[in-house]
Symmetry: C2
Subunit: 210 residues, 2 copies
Amino acid sequence: MSEARGAPARGAERADAARNRRAVLQATERLLAEGAGNGRGGGVGGASGEHVSLDRVAALAGVGKGTVFRRFGNRAGLFAALLEERSRALRAAVADGPPPLGPGAPPRERLLAFLDGLGAIAEGNALLLTAHEQACADDKYDDPSYQFWHRHLAGLLAEAGHPPEDADFLAHTVLAVFDGALVRRLTTPDEPRRFTRSVQTLATTLLDGA
Amino acid sequence: MSEARGAPARGAERADAARNRRAVLQATERLLAEGAGNGRGGGVGGASGEHVSLDRVAALAGVGKGTVFRRFGNRAGLFAALLEERSRALRAAVADGPPPLGPGAPPRERLLAFLDGLGAIAEGNALLLTAHEQACADDKYDDPSYQFWHRHLAGLLAEAGHPPEDADFLAHTVLAVFDGALVRRLTTPDEPRRFTRSVQTLATTLLDGA
DNA sequence: CTGTTATGCGGACTGGCGGTCCGCTTGTGC
DNA sequence: GCACAAGCGGACCGCCAGTCCGCATAACAG
């Protein structure tokens, strides 16, 4: 069992280690973005973003493959780290920022503000989302990030009047919709926030049904 | 581009071909089921159902690997075929069977009946579901089966009063919840139908919000 | 500045997988 | 029984996640 650490458990990490971590993360996002550019449908290739092999990440980052694995544990860990970085601000704002994201606002406003933030992240990182889903075979539900969002959502839904077990499932439902491929499918240049609007409509419907 | 065919386009398929197709399908489900039995957490293995390699399927079926690929095109095609077989009856019943599944019943009854059927399939084939999701990189939404269920759901939701674009997204939402890992997580021996009940609750909430 | 040490590095290596290819076998129609 | 297409099988290929261990070097004490 590889002990994946985003940052070292205790004490500062060595300077070169920190530099390499940044390099690997940047290389990963560059490869992910590059995959998006292939307009021509090759036929075989299929999903964009899945030919991001860790060998290539390591090469582009200018580090050895071992470094990538020591730092991130495995493929899933790498994508999770990138995702975590992208959503750190939202996480903080939700946990103890000012309303309407943070505590204090009525659940409806908090929910809509939260989904606006999460939707923006999803719309801007759809390929990363897919890569992460593919990499987490089925332990997606054990991911700390997932659990944080899920607790938050379930809490708000419960606060809005849903019985606990329903709130739990409905929270899973809302998160299930954050599927990379679905996000990509709904996001077009002329409707960049269609996905978010749809999710908010869904949330409103659920709230009204409490 | 491999031309996957479940059954030959025209004329009957040769006897041995048919026999082999059955054998491969059966081997696949046996391997899938066997994966479920590993109570001990191996640590590395991860998801159950993902070590079903096509080599093993071919070996267990007593055929060559080439046969598997000629018949099903690729990994995704194999799981899709199995899934299609499992849901064929429901598909037929929905398309032109008697109410409440088939046409004629009010949308609410049809929806609940449909989800009862689809939920049962999901609960009984959660590992297959996961395997299929993993195999379809992100063309899940182009799968004919998916599109059939989606059209059906969107139709019912629209019939119940949702504007078309909302109905479309809500249909995706309901289907997004049919995630193999989530189904497995909610299905326990003492609550074998908890997933279905939850989905029905979700559907009811959505209908009431129309 | 120098010596010591553990932290980190890298890339060869392994096992295994999806998918292809082509010479051979076998079912089928006449 | 024959000819031929349809089907077969498994060797083969390229690739990839993940491991391992000898080597370099950052950090720090004296």
